[in-house]
């Protein structure tokens, strides 16, 4: 009987989901509040990032890939003021020489960058770019506009961005790649569902 119950439970669950134990999941509540101070509630929309998403990223951003921890289910948050959508929040990780850098992206309803905050960044140079001057290069830009900041090698930023990055060009490259992947994946996976908020 026990075996039958286990098999029944497993049969109800036929999709591939990869992640750490779910009791450790935390919503980035403080950062969402910081990025959208007028937010009254947040609406979660969970989607699966899978190998087809990964291939899409490789196609649109050659020489880029998704970190293995980026596969699996991810949440996009809609910041709401009562029944009005203020924008979207999407957290993504990018590998760096200081470990994984996690950035919380605030996205406008037209899928342009509104702002961002570091969720986890252990680089000692974080303070050099965690300022309004550096962020201003990203704000208001769409995926296509941000892509013009990439050099031909597809992984480093050009001087338009690096001139604002002071002594932290490597970290600036990480932030740019993360922004591009975030906007691309937001559009590919959540785009259809987000139209009702635009």
């Amino acid at each position: 009987m026990k075996v039958l119950i286990i098999i029944s439970l497993l049969l109800l669950c036929t999709q591939n989901v990869l992640a750490e134990a779910y009791c450790s999941l935390r919503d980035p509540t403080a950062q969402i509040q910081q990025l959208f101070p007028d937010k009254t509630t947040q609406l979660s929309i969970v989607k699966a990032v899978d190998n087809s998403t990964r291939m899409h990223v490789q196609r649109e951003l050659p020489r880029n890939d998704l970190h293995f921890s980026e596969l699996g289910k991810h949440t996009l948050y809609v910041a709401m003021n009562n029944d009005k959508a203020l924008g979207f929040v999407h957290v993504r990780s990018e590998q760096s020489k200081w470990g994984l850098v996690e950035i919380i992206w605030a996205i406008d309803t037209d899928l342009t960058i509104k702002s961002f905050a570091f969720q986890r960044c252990r680089s000692p140079k974080k303070k050099l770019i965690d300022n309004a001057d550096f962020k201003s290069v990203f704000i208001g830009k769409s995926f296509a506009e941000l892509k013009t900041l990439l050099n031909d090698d597809g992984v480093t930023a050009n001087n338009t961005l690096l001139s604002k990055a002071k002594e932290a060009p490597d970290l600036a490259n990480v932030v740019l790649r993360c922004a591009l992947k975030t906007l691309l994946i937001t559009d590919v996976l959540w785009g259809e569902e987000l139209k009702k908020f635009q």
């Binding site: 990869l18 779910y22 009791c23 509540t29 950062q31 509630t41 609406l43 979660s44 200081w98």
Partner: protein
Amino acid sequence: MRKLLGILIFICSAPSFAEFTDNLRWSVDASARINKNIGAQNTSRLYALGLDTHKVFTSSNGDLGYAVGQLYFTKLSNQAPFPFMFDSKDDSKFIVREAHINYTAGSKWMPDVRLGHFTLPFGLEESIATNGRLLDYHHGKNLGTKLDWGIGLSKVLNKFEYRLSYTLGGKDDPKSINNSYLVTGRIGSHNHHDFIIGFSFLSGKLDDIERNRIALDWQYYWGTWGVLGELALGQDNKQQHWQSEKYNLIELNKVSNNGQFKLYSQYIYQDFEQADAANQLINVGISYQINTQLEFSMASRRTVKTPPSGKNQNLLRLQLRYRY
């Protein structure tokens, strides 16, 4: 058994399967663990197969809350001493790990409310969940239990976060046993910062022992290195005799740039009510994420100093864990 059937009926009676699977995360979690006690020349094994689920409930205007459910079929093999929820060293049982519902739709000042079986909000374990891993912060040994049934309140505010709970002290049973209860809480800085500090307390009665604890925990991360610590002090009243309790942990850890490989070493000083508890330990462990589903981990525990009545510990543990 009736609980399991209830879960099946609940799942099948959801308004529609598509609606139920919206915002649902689930994973089949299987692990095999070998414990080699070199000093006692004993080898034991622990197998677990379970479902780990997380579901967010929403309305059209926002999230209402979420639920976490972790149900594991667990089999022991020659495990001595065996955990309290088992009847013998070769027993097997369905074990509910975390199982709680959370209401999060309150106003800015109103706390979130949690109801169910959850990890007590105390010390490092509150911000670093170790369920199913070899990594351990001695939560159960220090407090008497790691999880308990009850109600919790929590909130993430602009500058800090807190979590409080009142639980029944029945551990895996949702009831109070001989007037058992636990009041537990932690207040700390946000856990995404490079430096995190928290203050915890516990007061109550569990297993017929009155317990009081306070603790200070901290974490500092620089690059791929981390230094963690927890100092817990308190008293246990066992048969009208108050005895002081101490637990101190210092950990140094390192993660590879891509997060695949993790290494940690811990020094633990403990002085618990059990007379045979070794009081100074060194733990060294590694974990390697072979691919997105498969993780291998290994840990070694050695006694540095043992009280006269105590036992030396020389343990080697290996675990293979697969999450699909």
